[in-house]
């Protein structure tokens, strides 16, 4: 009988409430971050205005924002796929690096040439990212090893591995000893549009969003993932192989993140270098959390955070703010979002408590 009650309450706090809560969380986070900026000697109002102007104020700004949005969409999708099954892939960062490494290998060292190059890079990145994540997937599926810690620690390993390659065997012999690889040939690069840095990766990201939507909402495999994510015990009772699904989902998640690495090297950097992904894999967690279940949501939230990141980069130039400041801001958004969740569900929670009691 209490159950029915729970319903009424939850439906009052529908999707509209949620969107309002997200917007409110971002606004409050901006407000609080303003104090941090003030304390660091930066005028927050001017800084925020600059963020908007830089990211959205010109066609160049918008194209830059879309360039930033691209890896965010793909990694955001990667994290959200795992999320549907209550699996935490905190390792999109490392998987992105591995995807970038694999794509670079194809572009520079495999000997593949011509129109086959890009597809081969895509496949290599997809496989590399997937393999990298499959370690965590295997450990989690087989022995219930905490995937949060494993995927996270593997980020450090992936970045060190990339460093090893660019400082060592893959270093450009004509690069004046800089830790970078040689540049890719034209065949290994995405085309660019509108006389800007916007590249085909953006459309690849949108395509990924559509593919993930179809996979999750329309296929029997997506149905299984949703069932396992909502209630693993019931899924097992219904005869689903939860272990296998966990392994596959984490692997798929890593493979998608690998695509992001491919898109970054083929579309933007045109070579492998350090600092390829300044924390996209972590921002992806916020994106997945904000967007909850929807692939479209991932696209929208990625764009919003893309604005922040582009603006943040410009702050770095004009006020010498550290890049990492964007993290503080993202942390704040999450805090306030968690808090807003509570206020959406407040009455509901009390009832749940009573039913438990």
């Amino acid at each position: 009988m209490n159950l029915q009650f729970r319903v009424e309450k939850r439906e009052q706090g529908g999707p509209l409430f949620r969107i309002l809560a997200i917007i409110a969380s971002i606004l409050i986070a901006l407000f609080v971050a303003g104090f941090l900026l003030l304390a660091a000697g930066v005028d927050p109002a001017a800084a925020y205005l600059e963020i908007l102007r830089e990211a959205l104020g010109s066609s160049y700004g918008i194209s830059e924002t879309l360039v930033k949005t691209t890896p965010l969409i793909i990694t955001g999708l990667a994290v959200s796929v795992a999320f549907r099954m209550q699996i935490w892939n905190i390792g999109a960062e490392g998987q992105l690096y591995m995807g970038a490494c694999a794509a670079t290998w194809v572009a520079l060292f495999s000997g593949v040439q011509g129109s086959l190059t890009l597809p081969a890079m895509f496949v290599a990145a997809f496989i590399a990212g997937g393999l990298w994540a499959s370690v965590a997937g295997l450990l989690r599926a087989r022995w219930q090893v905490n995937e949060v810690i494993v995927t996270l620690l593997m980020n450090y390993i992936a970045i060190l591995l990339t460093d090893y390659l660019i400082f060592g065997p893959w270093k450009n012999p004509d690069g004046f000893n800089f830790p970078i690889t040689a540049q890719f040939s034209q065949a290994a690069r995405f085309s660019e549009y509108f006389d800007s840095r916007l590249h085909s990766g953006f459309f690849l990201a949108l395509f990924c969003a559509l593919a993930i939507y179809l996979l999750m909402e329309r296929t029997i495999w997506g149905f299984q993932v949703k069932a396992i994510g909502s209630n693993p015990a019931a899924a097992r009772y219904a005869g689903m192989k939860t272990g296998l699904a966990i392994f596959l989902v984490l692997t798929l998640s890593g493979a998608i993140a690998g695509i992001a690495g491919f898109s970054e090297v083929a579309g933007l950097q045109h070579r492998l270098q350090h600092g390829l992904a300044p924390g996209y894999g972590y921002t992806a967690i916020i994106i997945a959390w904000l967007a909850r279940r929807s692939a479209l949501g991932v696209v929208i939230v990625s764009f919003l955070l893309g604005v922040l990141l582009v603006g943040g980069d410009s702050l770095q130039l004009s006020w010498q703010l550290p890049v990492a400041f964007a993290y503080a801001f993202q942390g704040l958004i999450l805090f306030f979002l968690l808090a807003s969740d509570f206020f959406i569900n407040f009455r509901l929670r009390r009832i749940t408590e009573e039913t438990d009691g």
């Binding site: 941090l36 304390a39 660091a40 935490w88 905190i90 450990l139 022995w143 219930q144 090893v145 905490n146 949060v148 810690i149 494993v150 996270l152 620690l153 593997m154 450090y156 390993i157 060190l160 591995l161 460093d163 090893y164 400082f167 060592g168 972590y282 967690i285 959390w289 010498q320 703010l321 550290p322 890049v323 990492a324 400041f325 964007a326 993290y327 503080a328 801001f329 993202q330 942390g331 704040l332 999450l334 805090f335 968690l338 808090a339 969740d341 509570f342 929670r349 438990d356 009691g357």
Partner: protein, 299 residues
């Protein structure tokens, strides 16, 4: 040679030890804290800044505890009072810690202080092999020994400790016994976070007496994994932290000796080992009677 390696082991293991102990206190109360990495940075920066300003290392340690305590309160508030998602909140705390310390650390980058000095314990420091490593160290390391024992004593010999363990296992039962569940949980998260902060301060006050952006470099995550290895016991945490101190020490030693292996590959070792240890300890947990707090991670 072994003496030097052991000494380096203890010094490299101590920040991780503090962080692991702090995380254990969190998890004993049933709250997962993935913000350890961020808390270490907050502790490192505030400890360093306070020492720089006051000239007192003790004040620095207090500041590190207080700052991490305060940051832990955010996590505690979200997880305990608001029943928010503990994983997301912890990640947010880590992000917040990385960002805020980068922002405020700009002012103190490049400055140095006089870090903790060694004080030999009479007689004990003369012991062969272990004497130097364990009894010719700085005060923070001696404090960590004490803390390991105190935490065990607290959990198994005091009423508060029993009540806290009960909350971590079964909050409904604790509530039925009239224990103020939320208050305890909140305090446990905040205090545990404070000790993590001291671990961070060890980095900036003893290991390398300066502030470097992102200087914890994943140690917080290693600590999170070590909690499982330690099966929530402070003595095993000591063992685990030194194991990792040992790997770090050996890796540095290899680099110093100028092996042909790339430094980047060597630096991977602690992370690879952490994953291996995590797998082994998870397997062991499943075999034997689980020490894991029964209600871990439930809002």
């Amino acid at each position: 040679m072994v003496e030097i390696l052991l000494d380096a082991t203890v010094r490299a293991g101590t920040p991780i030890l503090f962080a692991t102990l702090g995380a254990i206190i969190n998890e004993r109360a049933g709250i997962i804290n993935l913000g350890i990495e961020g808390l270490m940075l907050i502790g490192a920066l505030s400890g360093f800044a306070a020492t720089l300003a006051s000239g007192s290392l003790l004040l620095g340690v207090f500041a590190a505890f207080a700052a991490a305590f305060a940051a832990g309160c955010i996590h505690a508030f979200i997880c305990v009072q608001l029943r928010g998602n503990q994983i997301v909140s912890g990640l947010a705390l880590t992000m917040f810690g990385i960002g805020v310390t980068a922002l405020f650390g700009r002012g103190v980058v490049g400055q140095t202080i006089d870090g903790f000095e060694r004080h030999a314990v009479p007689l004990l420091s003369q012991l062969p092999l272990v004497g130097k490593a364990f009894f010719q160290q700085d005060w923070l390391i001696y404090f960590s020994f004490l803390l390991v024992f105190k935490i065990w004593f607290f959990f198994y010999r005091t009423r508060w400790g029993l009540e806290l363990r009960t909350i971590g296992e079964n909050p409904a039962a604790a509530d039925a016994c009239g224990i103020q569940v939320n208050r305890y949980r909140f305090l446990a998260v905040a205090c545990g976070s404070g000790f993590v902060g001291i671990g961070g301060a060890y980095l900036s006050l003893a290991s390398t007496p300066m502030w470097i952006e992102n200087m914890s470099a994943g140690r917080g995550w290693i600590a999170v994994a070590l909690v499982i290895f330690a099966s929530w016991s402070s003595f095993r945490a000591l063992f685990g932290a030194y194991l990792f101190g040992g790997i770090t020490a050996m890796q540095l030693r290899f680099q110093a000796m100028g092996t042909s292996v790339s430094a980047h590959i060597l630096q991977m070792l602690p992370y690879v080992f952490t994953i291996i240890v995590l797998v082994i300890s998870t397997l062991r947990l499943q075999k034997g009677a689980s020490q894991q707090p029964g209600n871990l991670g439930q809002p």
